[in-house]
Symmetry: D3
Subunit: 313 residues, 6 copies
């Protein structure tokens, strides 16, 4: 884009880098909504967060024989009132996003949670759902390996619920309420474990306590608030939470000891692996091997000619 001197320009932009300077303004690198790379000058002393989206109001000024954009104001989008659709549009422009329609996903998940019949399970689950739903639909499911993009957690959760349907059909002795509530709750601690939904990193508390124990504590605290502290249901949901990684070496202090916990473990591990595998194969030409895949024991997978997926261009 060509900027004309002294004109004003408004736009949303993601902060990529900040550059210290001894002048009374300093330059930051910004990516605009259309992908253009811009340089914006902020007043010395002003601070912005890396990787976040801001709304910039700027004026084009001359700086050392070049035209720069001077920020007259900048507002982080968390603090702006934006419609949901516009918000999602903005984030899709700036971040990697789960390949889902968020509205439909929310609709389906809520429908499944509404089917829970057991009052204790329903109360606990909905209480936690309402408390964390904003973050739940934004956070990734992991910082790397699988579902490591915005809305990854919701995408992963819904896929698990769909897989779980198959289990409930084949094994009618399973309790549907426990399975579905367990699937919803199993990774809810991730919204506490990661620092932010964009480019997530572990917080110190995430590292020292972890989403499994944080999730179990959350369930117990909510159960207590609701008067279900000593209910069998709260104990079973807590057990599903702490056993969903199955193996002690992967963070579970207990292995599954009820059938529904085993099912939650299975659909979790399956979705983390096969979803990732599909994304890897999408990058490979037919007749070729993928790179070694971390979540699949570093095996390389072959993309045969019958695979129902094309390499994205």
């Amino acid at each position: 884009m060509n900027f004309e001197l002294d004109q004003t320009y408004q736009f949303f932009g993601k902060v990529d880098q900040t550059n210290p300077s001894s002048y009374d303004t300093y330059p930051i690198n910004v990516t605009a909504e259309d992908g253009e790379k811009l340089i914006v000058r902020l007043p010395a002393g002003a601070s912005v967060q890396l990787n976040k989206i801001y709304y910039f109001e700027t004026t084009a000024i001359q700086f050392k024989e070049k035209i720069h954009l001077r920020a007259d104001s900048y507002t982080i989008i968390n603090q702006m009132i934006l419609e949901d659709d516009r918000k999602e549009e903005l984030m899709r422009s700036f971040y990697q996003y789960a390949p889902i329609n968020l509205k439909q996903t929310r609709h389906k998940i809520e429908a499944i949670l509404n089917q829970i019949e057991n009052k204790v399970i329903k109360d606990i689950t909905w209480n936690i759902y309402e408390k964390y739903q904003n973050d739940f639909y934004l956070y990734p499911a992991a910082t790397k390996f699988h579902h490591a993009y915005i809305s990854g957690l919701a995408y992963h959760t819904l896929s698990m619920m769909q897989l779980a349907e198959g289990f409930l059909t084949v094994y009618p002795f399973l309790n549907r309420d426990l399975v579905m509530a367990g699937v919803f709750l199993h990774d809810i601690g991730k919204v506490l474990e990661f620092d932010t939904f964009e480019g997530s990193e572990y917080t110190i508390k995430g590292r020292l306590i972890g989403h499994i124990t944080m999730g179990a504590t959350e369930i117990q605290m909510v159960a207590k608030e609701l008067g279900y502290e000593d209910s069998e249901e709260a104990m079973l949901l807590g057990h599903i939470m702490i056993s969903h990684h199955y193996h002690g070496n992967f963070g579970s202090p207990k292995r599954p000891n009820i059938a529904e916990a085993l099912v939650v473990y299975f659909v979790d591990t399956i979705d983390s692996k096969i979803c990732d595998l599909g994304e890897e194969l999408a990058e490979v030409q037919v007749g070729q091997l993928s790179a070694p895949i971390g979540v699949l024991d570093k095996e390389r997978y072959y993309k045969h000619s019958l695979t129902n997926i094309k390499k994205s261009e």
Copy 2:
């Protein structure tokens, strides 16, 4: 039952034990169709197989002050012409049986195999199906641990197909033909590995070669007969076969390296575990722990009050 001297009696019976004797007849223990335990005397030199069903024609005679049944003739049911329903009825009387309706199971499996579209896969699969279908619907899936009863293999196969449906829905990049043919074929080598469908034991060839390599050789031989020796499809089916135990320590010389092989592995391991878990929980009172379960790392599972299964009386 009371037997009258010199009367004749005809019945089906399973041979439980044979007892050597120095007389010119010797006694064998037989369970009749209604569960009654009988003693039948066979002529010295005659031989019957343990654990098999025979049709006995007998006469009640006096032997050392007791009434015994002397076999006038005996025919193993393999050599009799019986209607399917009568045959199934007989076997259900004498052996432990999968909890399925065999006719419906056969109908469903054939319907799924009929949906295979790829000609090479369809030809190979149906060729093997037709060759082994009699045994396929009779054999167990294992000699112990899981599905270790008559028709266990067909029961296990259908459950796996039903679970696989869920995977195909959630992950559309998977090839349905490979998954369903792979599920059908994966344990077909068991009909070669076990000596018989009732009270199966491993044959020496089963121990030294195993159902995985026997199955892979079978696929390759059939592919050669049909002119598909060098087809990608035969290779892929062979790969699904040899990788379906995933781990080298459990008999797979290769880990899954195509997505469909991974799915066959998952539905196999899931059904072997959860089907067995359901059967174990059926034996336990609500509020109690099961015995340690072999296929589930010897964990004891808790039967909570929300389990949809009652203890059988």
Copy 3:
């Protein structure tokens, strides 16, 4: 003892066994304080708990040509007002007991907890101490393997504190408050995990959730009550709790990631092993090998002639 007909007898006794009967009284086996084995008859419909101590008031009656004791009343000691010394005396008569003086142990532990300087740590620790102190001084540290006797938990905790002193001397960078509070708290969840202090067994909740997660939730709940929910100290104590088994396979969802957690792990594992080793060697003659010791990788230890311990007679 000889009982005279129609005389009354009062005594404390532990219930060893109850024997159903079709009479209007039924006999129970009781061990008296002096070790004598008695038979007491209870009215049909009355119930007593196995392994518990009762105060019996009885009358000697004639029953089928023998003299039996008929219970006129019986009271479980939990419901009696007894002096501490008398209570301890009774329990020492009936149960296996840690080789400590309970009063001194309590005194020493409280002295150490009183030295905690950090207000947040002190408040959380004392709040939990006061809540659970009765059970804390009665419960064992394990149901088998090590410190599996009454007051085993307090004995184990004090030994750990004494070992920790050595670490604090050699490594001055360690924070004393965290180490000592961590040692006190580390097994507090055991009073929740076991059903009772005499002949402890795991509760279902103990099995499905476990003392580690229960302990971590307890710390977080108390911290919240005291307004320390987001304090670094609460997080660090929680981390010490969940990492004190070090290995995922032994129930810790996180390995130690602060120095003080590593120290708590070390003194815990050391005391569980060496205390048990000392008890095993006490049973062995000089010049002999012990039986394989479970907590020491099933190794057999040699009692050499320089060992400062004699075989108990």
Copy 4:
């Protein structure tokens, strides 16, 4: 070498690299038989295979002030009629080669296979030998780690046979025919698993099925053709094949369960390790440690002063 303009030059050369060009000829890098590095220009559209030997007929031309060789014709040696000795001479010039005399090796292996007495074993073995002998004497035994050079498979096989002699002497209960046929057959699947004998790489079928299952299928197919499908001998040879890596993690679906299979495993693993060790020590000065050796658990071996091998200059 100096080339004179317009003169013609004929020579054998191995193609090292091809370089795209927009001219109507493009340059390729070629190594000549004497090791000289040449540049030859091919007509646009012509194609040659990397790593293969060609016979080039060229003319020296001027290209941008330098003298280049223009290919007037080029023929891959597979399509030329050459005497065996000349062929071996050429390959020794261009590729790394096993340190053996191929004629003697062939002679010794055939002599051993001729000593097989059991008709079934002899027929199966010779049938496979004759089918694959050309490749058998050219292929390496592995793509890396050990015997990864031309004729490596034959070299490895003969060493194993010589080691096996020692076993047959010390343990007379072993069956010589099974051991020697097993040694010959054990890696025959490698000629199917690798794409070519020079600079071998795994084919996709090699990766998805592997030489063990391919070899077992080959034995069974040949046995069937010869009417030995159900012979004990075919089963035993198949078992030796699939168990010769011993460990499931190394690709064997069964562990050895006959003595001769154990012997084949031992001489295979020994020769793969000690042959490689000898080659590594040949590169090391006396008094020094080797680099970590992959096939020997990454241990570094010491070359002491008593080693009967000098460092090659």
Copy 5:
């Protein structure tokens, strides 16, 4: 045998059991050279060692209406002067014995040790050989699992030397002196580790130090005596000693790091396994599986019809 009252009887016998008595003589159970089970009465206060051979001079006396043999004298054979052949004959009568001719074995081992050319290796090896040769030819190679019979160590050593010949032929870079001396020395510490050659058990020193460290210390002490303390040869022999179990978990503090140590490990492990396998198969009928074999990962081995060994009757 019938004993006549007051007659004297002389015989060799092994003490099987001693039976305390309050009489002034007590009975012991003795097996005579011809296998007959006898009862001999010893004077109270006399003591004999279990499992040892004695020469008894006895008189037949009457004891409680039976005829017993009263020992007039008894001498342990260690203290008798007997010819070698007679000694071996006696031991073969009473104990399980390696299936070898001891004289020939000694002859062959000495011939091999005489071929050692390196003076340092020869001096150290012969010094130790001469010091321990009596025990060396009597001790077993293990207390159970393999070669657990008299002369087992010499039998095992010679088999290893014969296997090693094959290695030396195929891999000429190996130093023969180190290999053969290493084979002879590798288990010499067993004569120190076990308490006695008949029915060997570990001594306390054997358990706490072990034959590997005892052997290494022995080599170093002898080297020092001979003035070879700092020789490369003493170091290499010490290294072969401590690395011959290869794995740390099996008692080797170092893995092999010279080629000759690797060879000693291989021939040791091979002979311990295949010798035992041969002995197991000798007990099995053709067509049957052996019991699980401890030294072979508890695998069951199949005795096929081509096995060159008959079941002993």
Copy 6:
């Protein structure tokens, strides 16, 4: 420093690098006591050892228009007579050093060894102490990972003794003499295993035999010299030596089988880990994670705000 032509300069310096030259002198890089980097010219043919401290007497000369220092003499400090304090001062200038006062450390260790009461243990320990004390106070405890600096071995040994005090207090059945002698002896083989105390590397003997077996042999040899060859004490000290790494995979041919050996193992592993952890945390800012720590399973440790250690500037 400025050097004036033809003036002489004397100084201590550590040789960092030598540079070949065709002149009749060649330059070497030297670090002086004050840290200055100098170039000194040595006569062709003269040789110095890298990493060692020398006393140089030099004259400033002109060399190619620069002033260089020509060495008129140079003496390695090993061959100079220097007071202890001066020697330590020099080494602290040139090498990384344990953070201890050497004189006090020596005093404390000797005091503890003087408290040994058992004559056999005392004689063996002091004999070895006197033989190796010079090296003992100079050598590191490892070449990397922990205590890898001068006097690291003495520092490590004293810390272990201090930790051991705590164990002796809590577990009175332990024998103090064995524990303290065991701690002193446990790593004495390191002075044999490393080539030199500055920048230690393993000798070949260190690699092939190792400090554990060398240490065990040393104890046995000294015991023999002192007439204690068959004493229980020598055996127990030998056992402590060989079991102090506990795990076979870490070089111990035996696991601890006496209580004192277990204690020596514990204080060894604890000090190697926590001492290193303290050093790592000293490098980290409060609120940050350390780098992955090798001796602590590559875990990253968090430096919380209560840590009693500041980041060194």
